[in-house]
Symmetry: C2
Subunit: 202 residues, 2 copies
Amino acid sequence: MELRYPNGKVYKENPGTYNTQEKQKNILYGNRGMTLEDDLNETNAYYLQEGIAVIHKKPTPIQIVQVDYQSRSTAVIKEAYFKQPSTTDYNGVCCGKYIDFEAKETQNHTSFPLHNFHKHQISHMKQVVAQGGICFVILRFAKEEEIFLLESRHLFFYWDRMLAGGRKSIKKEEIEATGYPIPVGYRPRIDYIAILKKLYNF
Amino acid sequence: MELRYPNGKVYKENPGTYNTQEKQKNILYGNRGMTLEDDLNETNAYYLQEGIAVIHKKPTPIQIVQVDYQSRSTAVIKEAYFKQPSTTDYNGVCCGKYIDFEAKETQNHTSFPLHNFHKHQISHMKQVVAQGGICFVILRFAKEEEIFLLESRHLFFYWDRMLAGGRKSIKKEEIEATGYPIPVGYRPRIDYIAILKKLYNF
């Protein structure tokens, strides 16, 4: 039964609860120094646990130069170097669909620099799209805590514009116009699958 | 027009060519010490180049302990350890389908030991299948140069049989009965996509 105040406003039990929780959330998450990678790892662990999707971050590619085999069971890598990734960082499967994406953040306020991506990653994304995979990037404006999903076809447009001599970044307005904001939640933290399900009807 | 010898046998121009090429192939490949991983990397490079599929081997997961930043651009990893992979080694996309597999070889003649797989990999494969991905293993009997594709559902059967106290390996006859032989070719070396296309109609 709906109760109302004398002025006609609907009575809600403990009306402050929602705001208090929101505030606590901001305290909890705003200050715990989590990176976009941490948030995505948590999100993917949640998807895995709930049977929603199987998405993993690929290990960092490393060129191993010297290994010490101290015993049969332990091998210590003594000299190695980071290699530039030739693919994106994340891939996996959801409802039979191949999912592939890269995640990057910027401290900028008004644009997202394209130097965050390597040309090999762009080539990889184009190959994935050609094979019918679902490919996108997750872009985070760290200062504003704003996160967007941008389908790779739009990234290709901005990338090709740069190659043609145009701007070396994507304007934030452009991301707002062509991408989809991902609200930061609790579980999952960054629910990109929800957006994909709407976009691709699966 | 078909020409025949007086004895009825079909005449082939330069009948030795095929065998000679086969022999050369055996010399070229039989002795060049290529591992299953090398062959699969070549196969995947071919698929990528020809626009047939986008499949990559994941980097080996490594736990980094100490890094020397000698200059702005160079970082040398001074201490690191190999981690056990929690997923399979290969994944990617072909015709929109998510493809996921592990490749292993044995020096055995009559059976394939199940200790080649870790329980985390089996869990991962089960998660992939539950999401509608295509999941399998490529098994190589190194001595005989025989390679099989075995769908993961059969691997699960043999794995569960082991957990229930049964044999710790898969008999070669069982692999022959439930898997598919992959002939070793030139380009691609190990054409597993051809088998998948027939099996899954894509």
